[in-house]
């Protein structure tokens, strides 16, 4: 009887696993098809049944993109924005998170901590219009600066580092460092930074990916096609050359590859980052 039950249970488990597996394939199917279409000719794509396997038209499709814009230009632009912004954001956040976590008794601490948490509930949309006008006054429109410098101050990043540092660094460490003669900021750079590397990595991956995917702010700030980041350039291509589906798909694929490579390398940190936000 028991064995029978166990058998039945195992079969149910297997059936559900298979059903879930099929559903998961449905989730990646659009991405798979994107990559297949990128290698096919226009005729293949319009035929039925649609091609399920790769073709050999990738070079032609690449040339078709190249007729509209240099295919790697948007990727380089996105890197120019995302890399410095991420480094800056992670450093600024770690510094502030360290300050908030260590100096609980400093005058003004409570106010700054409350302010940082409050920023999480400010919709970015609220500042969009005046930010645009401000950038125009700075003469920063159609440059990468508005996408790099202002974004370095992220309430989300500070809260993240504040909780991370609070949970990984024991207070005694600060006292020990002080006795060894390390002052506040040198303690940060030489003692704290090396310990919190996993937290920095998680925040960095999260920032890189969300910056790569940013759409509204670049849309408002960048005017010239040669400055467009990946999502903007692809949107432009898909509007002006929507009939050339394979070229649009190839360009899409090229824009996705950097993020997917990053995810493949650092998925553990990425997922750890996701869940750490939810624990609060």
């Amino acid at each position: 009887m028991r064995k029978l039950l166990a058998n039945r249970e195992r079969r149910i488990n297997l059936a559900i696993t298979i059903a879930l597996f099929l559903l998961s394939l449905l989730f990646v199917l659009p991405l798979y098809w994107t990559s297949v279409f990128a290698t096919r000719s226009l005729q293949d794509v319009f035929s039925f049944p649609p091609p399920f396997w790769y073709g050999d038209n990738i070079v032609r499709n690449y040339q078709n993109i190249a007729n509209v814009f240099p295919p790697f230009r948007p990727i380089i632009n996105s890197l120019i924005v995302a890399v410095p912004k991420t480094i800056g954001l992670v450093l600024v956040s770690a510094l502030a998170g360290y300050g908030l976590s260590r100096y609980g008794r400093a005058p003004g601490h409570r106010f700054l901590l409350a302010m940082t948490f409050a920023t999480l509930f400010f919709p970015p949309t609220l500042a969009l219009i005046p930010f645009f006008l401000q950038m125009s006054a700075f003469g920063w429109l159609n440059t990468f600066w508005p996408l790099i410098i202002p974004a370095m101050a992220s309430g989300f990043g500070v809260v993240w580092m504040y909780t991370y540092i609070g949970s990984t660094i024991p207070k005694e460490l600060y006292e020990a460092a002080e006795m060894d003669g390390a002052k506040g900021l040198s303690t940060f750079f030489f003692v704290v930074l090396p310990i919190i590397r996993p937290g920095l990595a998680a925040l960095a991956v999260w920032t890189l990916i969300s910056t790569w995917n940013d759409f509204q702010l670049p849309l408002v700030v960048l005017a010239e096609g040669s400055r467009f980041t990946v999502p903007l350039a692809l949107t432009m291509l898909s509007t002006t050359h929507y009939s050339d589906m394979p070229a649009v798909m190839l360009a899409t694929l090229m824009g996705l590859v950097p993020v997917f490579v990053l995810f493949a390398l650092l998925s553990r940190q990425f997922i750890a980052g996701l869940t750490s936000g939810a624990v609060k």
Binding site: F48, P50, T125, L126, T275
Partner: protein
């Protein structure tokens, strides 16, 4: 006396001077690029300004004008529709998946964790482009598929249809976000002690009862977190409908969201005052929803404690 306290504060500040140095970069950048624009936006909301001529003070006119604009009314309705359906479907699907993967899948759990998360890596704008390709009226995969089933070629204009465009936007949100919520729920499930389940099974409690009476109540903090993040995102939805309708909001504004309305007033009509007023409506909605979430959360905790 007062002087003594000031002196003490000053001494403490000098002792903790590293605190101010550490906070300085964040605070300075934040003041210049966030606090100042928000204050300026408050000022703009009460003025009429096209960015060139002198701003003109108009009181609450912008706020009233937005409310009386049929397009804005439609945008409110569209935003509520998209927020509601995309959150409900995403959170339910993610919860179901998380429980099923957690309970029934014996091997390859990591596969599910990865695969459902992949769509989140795709920018909303890019996801919208992919969806456009599949749903194009002539030669789109979906129409080809329908044509082969029915035998007559189909040229249905999904993206131009007023009935279908909103579900398509919601589908995009569901596709991108399900994996993220699933991972959050799976982390939440890990924190539920196993022996509660053991005890329930020994007592002969059915699977559905275990799910609805044990899993869901104990997972409530994660579910509440998921709902509030889905709400914050949903209220500001812009990228998906914008790219899917090529910036136009669909036939007859059928999927113009509040975020798109704001963008159009400010950056195509250069009515910065009206746009700012709209952004304060979004802020008000966020505040109201966040506070009611906190209120409900507190009530629930008190209820659980009693």
């Amino acid at each position: 006396m007062a002087l003594g306290r000031t002196g003490k504060t000053l001494r403490q500040m000098r002792r903790d001077n590293a605190f101010y140095l550490a906070m300085a970069p964040f605070v300075v950048i934040f003041l210049i690029f966030s606090v100042f624009p928000v204050l300026f936006s408050f000022y703009l909301g009460f003025n009429q300004w096209d960015g060139f001529s002198e701003p003109r003070f108009v009181g609450f006119e912008n706020y009233l004008r937005a409310l009386n604009d049929p397009v804005f009314q439609k945008a409110i309705w569209n935003t509520i529709y998209l927020w509601f359906w995309s959150s409900v479907v995403t959170v339910t699907l993610a919860l179901g998946l998380a429980v099923l993967v957690n309970e029934y899948v014996a091997f390859g759990k990591n596969w599910f964790r990865m695969v459902f998360l992949l769509p989140l890596l795709v920018a909303p704008a890019i996801a919208a482009i992919i969806l456009r390709v599949f749903f194009t009226s002539s030669g789109g995969l979906v129409n080809l598929f329908i044509g082969s089933i029915t035998g007559t070629p189909s040229y249905f204009d999904w993206l131009g249809s007023q009935e279908w465009i909103k579900p398509l936007v919601a589908l995009l949100v569901v596709w991108r976000w399900t994996g993220w919520y699933m991972i959050i729920f799976m982390a939440g499930l890990q924190s539920i002690p196993r022996d509660i389940y053991e005890a329930a099974r020994i007592d002969g409690v059915g699977r559905w009862a275990i799910f609805s009476r044990i899993t869901v109540p104990l997972l409530m903090p994660s579910i509440a977190f998921a709902v509030i993040t889905a709400t914050l995102g949903g209220l500001q939805m812009f990228d998906e409908p914008y790219v899917l309708t090529q910036g136009l909001g669909g036939t007859n504004n059928s999927t113009t969201t509040i975020g798109m309305y704001l963008y159009a007033t400010a950056f195509t009509q250069f009515n910065f005052g009206l746009g700012s007023a709209v952004s304060w409506y979004i802020f008000a909605a966020v505040v109201v929803l966040t506070l009611s979430y906190r209120f409900l959360n507190q009530r629930m905790r008190e209820g659980a404690g009693a």
